[in-house]
Every structure is written in structure tokens, then in C-alpha cells.
Amino acid sequence: MDAKRDDVAAPAADTGIIVTRVFDAPRALVFRAWTEPQQLMRWWAPQGCTTPYCTVDLRPGGAFHYCMRLPDGRDIWGLGLYREIVVPSRLVYLDSFADADGNPVPPAHYGMSAGHPAESLVTVTFEERDGKTRVTLHHAIPVSVEERGGAEQGWTEMLERLAAELRRS
């Protein structure tokens, strides 16, 4: 595996968004739902969106390429470049926007603000307990390790609160 050590270290709350959920299904089944295109198309993307296209090349350096159709009919293509794959417990990929041919494109291509990061690292871990599967997803904030300062828990939440306060004032 050629992923950099820093990128695959245990994720912490000060380095990004963490979403955890326990699914009532065995780990092998949940892992397949994340790595088989026909299954990804059934659940990937938020409520109201659909995923009409998805391919998966499940190997380090391979990618999954998908089309997310928004409720207004617009298509947003995305690419996940696999950095690390441990069946059935761990997936690490670099997330970016793409075109229909699977080439990465800048976020501005989809009308995102100029400040939107071009790529970010996503780490998904799958733990089995009593036939259920705990999935922990870490979506890293796009800051290199050298740029990170001290560790403090949950600062993304603090940030959201602060921005909400500012909007009110």
C-alpha cells in the first residue's frame, strides 16, 4: 500500500467530519454495499437524489466513478480514488468531482464557490459486533498534516455554531 502514513492514521475529531452509524447487518454485507456498483446505486447520495451510474475498480489506485442526479435533474459526477482497501474492514479514498469520462474536474465546473476544496480524503471503517456493523466515516478537512495545529475535539461543530451566530447578527 503506498498511502502515506499520516493519511491513514486513526482519524480524530479535530481533523474533519465524523459520522458513525450502527447498521443491523453483518459486516461482509455492509462492505459489499460500499464496494459493488449495483448496490452503491441503491443508496449513495442524499434523500431525493439518485445514482444512475456507478463503476467500481476495487484496488489501490483504482477508483469508483459515479453520477449523482440531483432532485432538479442536474447531474454531478464524482470520483473516489482508492488509497487503501482492507476487505471487509477499511476503505480510504480521495474524493473529487469528475466529468462523465472519469477525469477529475475542479469544483467550479459544477458552480461551486472558488474556495471549495478540489479533493478531500475519506476513511471508512467497518467493525462487526454481535452481527451488527458499526461504520465510522471520517471526511478529512482539506488541510495538510503540517498545517494542522493543536488537537481539540469537535471544532467543526464549534465552527458551525460560530457561523450560525454570525448569520444571525
Binding site: 467530519i17 447498521f23 442524499p46 461504520v135 482539506p142 488541510v143 495545529g149 460560530l162
Partner: protein
């Protein structure tokens, strides 16, 4: 690269002292001396943090010679908060759908056996 601006904002926010400074400024503009008080830090150390925040566009500093009050700027903070909120929503809603899908999948399995792909 166009992603530099948000990265600079995140980098500026990655430090707990700088976040504390921003939280303090959320309740109103203030002087550097006042800002430095709760931190047990030298003025030059605080000034260094303020420079990082200023470069990231998170604060502005008045030009009034003596006082130079620091003020919070909402724009970049809202950009990063939007980025965080966008992905949090993406994952939470996708997880809801995955939960529904896995239930349906296993329900189907019990009745019809596992359907390959």
C-alpha cells in the same frame, strides 16, 4: 489553485488559540491587548496569530493608529461551515438510505434467498 482559499481558512482554524480568538471576536471588536489577556501569551505571539487570521480573511484590523481594533469577517467562516454542513448532510442522509437498503436487502434474503448483484 482555487482551493487555496478554503484550505488557508481551515489551516487558520486548525489552531485552538486562533479559534478562541475568533470566538472572543464573535461578541464584538476588541483591541490586541484585550485579546491577549486571557491567553497568557506575549503580544508578539498574539500578533502572529492575528496575522494568520488576517491573511485567511477571517478578521480585519482597523487602521486607527493607536487602537487597531480586530473584527471578525463572516465570509470565509461561512464558506468552511457550509463545506462542513454540506458533507455532514451528504453522509447522514446517505447513511439513512443505506440503512433502509440493508433492511430491504435482508428482508428479501429471508423470503427469496440472496440475489446475486
Amino acid at each position: 489553485m482555487s482551493s487555496d482559499r478554503l484550505s488557508a481558512t481551515f489551516a487558520a482554524l486548525a489552531d485552538p488559540t486562533r479559534r478562541a480568538i475568533l470566538a472572543r471576536l464573535a461578541s464584538g471588536e476588541t483591541s490586541v491587548t484585550e485579546l491577549a489577556e486571557p491567553f497568557e501569551m506575549s503580544l508578539p505571539a498574539i500578533s502572529k496569530h492575528l496575522k494568520v487570521l488576517e491573511r485567511a480573511g477571517l478578521i480585519t484590523r482597523g487602521r486607527e493608529a493607536q487602537w487597531r481594533p480586530c473584527r471578525l469577517r463572516a465570509g470565509p467562516l461561512e464558506d468552511v461551515a457550509d463545506w462542513v454542513a454540506h458533507y455532514r448532510r451528504f453522509w447522514e442522509q446517505s447513511f439513512d438510505r443505506l440503512d433502509d437498503y440493508l433492511h430491504a436487502l435482508q428482508g428479501k434474503e429471508k423470503k427469496h434467498g440472496r440475489k446475486k448483484r
